[in-house]
Every structure is written in C-alpha cells, then in structure tokens.
C-alpha cells in the first residue's frame, strides 16, 4: 500500500525569515543535486566592490538590524535597483545594497551574503538530506510575514502585500474552516499566550475554537489525538514562563537565536517520530514564511495570478502588483517514513523536471487530500503544485530513520 494511502495527518511547521541559500545552500558541496551555493555567487556593495557569499553565518547578532523584507526592499533585492518598467531583468543583485540602507555600514551590509555551514544546523540539514528537500519552494509574495502566512492559511492574501490589518470579505475559507465544515479535524497551534498567533483579526478573533497551544500539540501527539491537519507557529518573542523559566523565541526571525529554532524543529519532529502509529501516518512539512531579506541566488519565477491586485500606493514601488511573480525562495523539507532518503525535488535549475511550490501549495495539498478539492478556492491555489506525490510505496524501517537527542 502506498504511503499516501496510510496518510492520516498533515502537519505544517512554519518558521520565520530565512532564505534557502542562507540555511541550506552549504549542502551543495556534498549533495550536488541540492541547488544551493558554489561559493562564487556575489552581489555588488554600495562602493561597487564584489561581495561573495560567505559561509560564516552566526546564530545571533549578525543580522541586527533586521534586514528589510517589505515589498519595495525585496523589489530592490530581486532587480538590483533597475528602474520600474517593461523589460527589466531579475538578477538577485540588490541584497547588499538594500541591507546597507539599514546598516549604513558597508562592511556590515556584507553580512546579508552569509550562509550556514551545514554542521551548524544539524536538525534542518539532517532532515533535508534524510527525507525530501525542495529546490523550488518560494514564498508566495516578494514581501513580509503577514501576507505570506495568509497564503499558507487561505491560498491567497486577498490583495495584501504587507503587514496591514485586513478583513476577509470574500467567500474563501481558511483550510481549518474547510476541514471542519467537511467533517474533518484541524488545529492551529500557537506556542503560548505571550507569543500567540500571527493570524489574529480573522481567525483568532472569529474562530478561537481552531486554536490550541504547543503544549497541547505535544500532548495530542503522545495521546494519539492529533487532528488530521494542523499548523504550528513557533515562539515569536523572548519572555518569562509561568514558572519563571526563560522562554526564548524559536522562530529564527533575525535577531532571534537560530539554535533555539533548531531545538523547536527537533522537538516537533520527535513528538511525531516517537509515536509509532503517528509516525507511519503523518507527513511533516517544515517551511519558512519568507526569506527575511537574506540572499538567495534563484530568481523567483512567474506564477498564476490569484485574481487580486495591490495598488501602487500599497506596494510602495510606484507600480501595482498583480500577484504574477513569486517571492524569494525559502527552505522547505517534507518528512515521512514513506519518503526515500535523499529526495531532492528539482526546481528552476532543471526546467524540464521543475516542480515549483509556494505557500498556496499547503491549502491545495490539504484540500486535495482530505476534501478531494471540494472548496471555493482562488485560481492560484487551484493551480498550485501539491506535495504528497513524493510519498513512495515503501515505508522505511524504523532504524533507518533518525531521532534527535539532547533536547531542552
């Protein structure tokens, strides 16, 4: 029986603000199929000097101030500062220039080209090489968090390209509502109340019943009560715990400590991995909401518009945006014992076999798998690539799959 026939649960963990090359680009040297870095990729700085990518990423303090990742800044990063107009070419040459606008320090602006040595990220790089890594998973919008996370929940941002408050007036339901209305189960787990969720004015306010905390996720995994679909949000800020403990942000958003995010990913994986029934019936997707202004070398491809348009005022670039181009590439890893070790899903580097994914792929996959596509959806989501086809007909033996140790 194929793995997809065994699949009872889809779990999505969405982290914050790191690009593919920054987190996984260093794997290419050992795993050439992974479309990361050769070491020769570069950007010009504001003095015209060539700045190569550097394998010197640090867990904290290197990307402070927070790199720009709002729409105009990402436009500069992608197009290198070429003026708006037909015929301009995306070249991924504006990252250092854009970071200089935050740092006002030429040397510090070079930090945006940093990437991690794979051994410094043992959780993410292990999962990427032990299961499936996507060479072509892009953020849905070349912009910041709120609008990109909306794509993961609804398959659209309803025309938003920023962080503004917006209300959903269209008859497009969130994935959770679709599931529950269809007689299925779904939850959105936030870390705790001091961290809360990033999906507030529409979901937390109007549908609090779909929410639970991360403690409940851990309990649901061990107790065999995990819903069919769930989405996990990491901790977004440093704060004291109820018992006086120091709760660290685990979202990996600069300038939060990347190692704490590694611990969080490992804890989430272990919660599923250590329940044998859950492990054999669950697919875990670990993905980042957007690149956070950090360098990636792959030009975002065009995409199917979702029927909305952002005005020139809203984009801040002087021209409207029709949601016809994806945002910058992010790390994405799919974990299941039904996935062959070392699966690399080709992206734009292999035009013949490319499989392009974005956050609309999340509601698309859940809706196709559990509801046979029965929901009102944007054309963008209907055309989004789904990811469960990566599951094979062979379940890997237990001792062929890793576990993580030394967790907090």
């Amino acid at each position: 029986m194929a793995g997809i026939d065994q699949l009872k649960h889809i779990v999505v963990l969405m982290m914050e603000n790191r690009s593919f090359d920054h987190m996984l680009g260093g794997l290419t040297q050992k795993y050439p199929k992974i479309n990361g870095l050769t070491g020769n990729e570069s950007n010009p700085d504001t003095n015209g000097a060539i700045v190569k990518v550097q394998q010197n990423a640090e867990f904290q303090s290197q990307l402070d101030p927070d790199p720009d990742h709002h729409f105009p800044g990402v436009d500069l990063q992608i197009f290198g500062g070429a003026p708006q107009g037909p015929g301009r070419v995306a070249n991924m040459q504006g990252f250092v220039k854009d970071y200089f606008s935050q740092t006002n320090d030429v040397n510090r602006s070079h930090n945006i080209m940093s990437y991690f040595a794979p051994e410094n990220l043992p959780v993410l790089t292990t999962l990427a090489t032990e299961f499936a890594v996507f060479n072509g998973w892009f953020s849905s919008i070349p912009g910041p968090t709120i609008c990109n996370r909306a794509f993961a929940h609804y398959g659209t941002s309803f025309g938003q390209v920023g962080m503004d408050i917006f209300y959903i007036l269209d008859p497009i339901l969130s994935t959770y509502e679709r599931m529950i209305q269809g007689g299925h189960t779904a939850k959105l787990y936030y870390y705790d109340q001091p961290s809360s969720t990033m999906e507030i004015v529409n979901l937390l306010k109007n549908q609090p019943q779909i929410f639970a905390t991360y403690d409940q996720f851990i309990s649901d995994c061990s107790g065999g009560t995990l819903p069919e679909y769930c989405f996990i949000e990491p901790c977004y800020n440093d704060h004291p715990g109820a018992d006086g403990a120091q709760i660290l942000a685990s979202d990996q958003h600069p300038d939060h400590n990347v190692r704490e995010g590694e611990q969080f990913i490992a804890n989430t994986f272990n919660a599923i991995r250590t329940n044998p029934d859950l492990w054999m019936s669950t697919a875990l997707l670990i993905v980042y909401d957007e690149h956070g202004g950090i360098y990636d070398h792959v030009v975002p491809p065009a995409c199917t518009p979702d029927g909305y348009s952002a005005t020139a005022d809203n984009t801040g670039t002087g021209v409207p945006f029709n949601f016809d181009r994806l945002g910058i590439r992010v790390p994405a890893v799919l974990v299941s014992p039904w996935i062959a070790r070392g699966t690399v899903v080709p992206g734009t580097e292999d035009p013949v076999n490319a499989q392009i994914f974005e956050h609309a792929s999340i509601p698309a996959t859940v809706t196709e798998h559990f509801l046979q596509g029965d929901a009102k959806r944007t054309i963008r989501e209907q055309q989004a690539k789904t990811f469960l086809g990566l599951m094979t007909g062979t379940m890997r033996p237990d001792n062929d799959c890793v576990v993580f140790g030394n967790l907090s």
């Binding site: 408050i165 929410f211 030394n406």
Partner: protein, 90 residues
C-alpha cells in the same frame, strides 16, 4: 534490529535570552492586530468589556521591547482565547 541513529542537537547559548531586545516590526504589527481584534471583540461581547477596556486604554505606541509585546500579547490572547491558558490534560 539496530537502533535508530540519534542526532545530538546543540543547546542554545544561555546568554541568548533577552526580553529587553527592541520589538521588531513584526511584533509591533502583531500588537496592532491584537488591539484591533480586541476592540471588535468588546463590541460583540460586552461581558468581556471591563478587563478589555483597561487593556484598550493602553497605548501600544509605548511598546518598546519584546517583554512589552509579550505582556500585551498575553493579556489580549487570554481574552480572545482563554482556552490557551489551560495546560494539556487539565
């Protein structure tokens, strides 16, 4: 059967904890979204209005640090989602 491979995960540097870190744009946006949701919640559920009104009187422009954000976020979320205060199984 051979045991599964165990991958050791390094601990986070204890000095990483810094609730006095300035709140970034994402956290400030989150606070604004929470305030908006709370104001509408009060309109719809007057029974929750006493505590909520006190929180709404707080000027979110005074939020400077992650500790400030987390304190505000906890208070608003406790009203919008009181179930989040419960420990699993209790």
């Amino acid at each position: 059967m051979a045991p599964s491979r165990v991958i050791s995960v390094p601990k986070t540097d204890p000095g990483a904890y810094n609730p006095k870190r300035p709140a970034g744009k994402l956290l400030l946006a989150q606070a604004a979204h929470l305030r908006d949701a709370l104001s509408k919640h009060v309109d719809e559920k007057p029974a929750d209005s006493k505590e909520a009104t006190e929180i709404l009187a707080f000027d979110i422009a005074s939020i400077k640090t992650e500790a400030d954000v987390s304190n505000y976020t906890q208070k608003v979320t406790a009203i919008l989602h009181p179930q989040g205060a419960k420990r699993p199984g209790k």
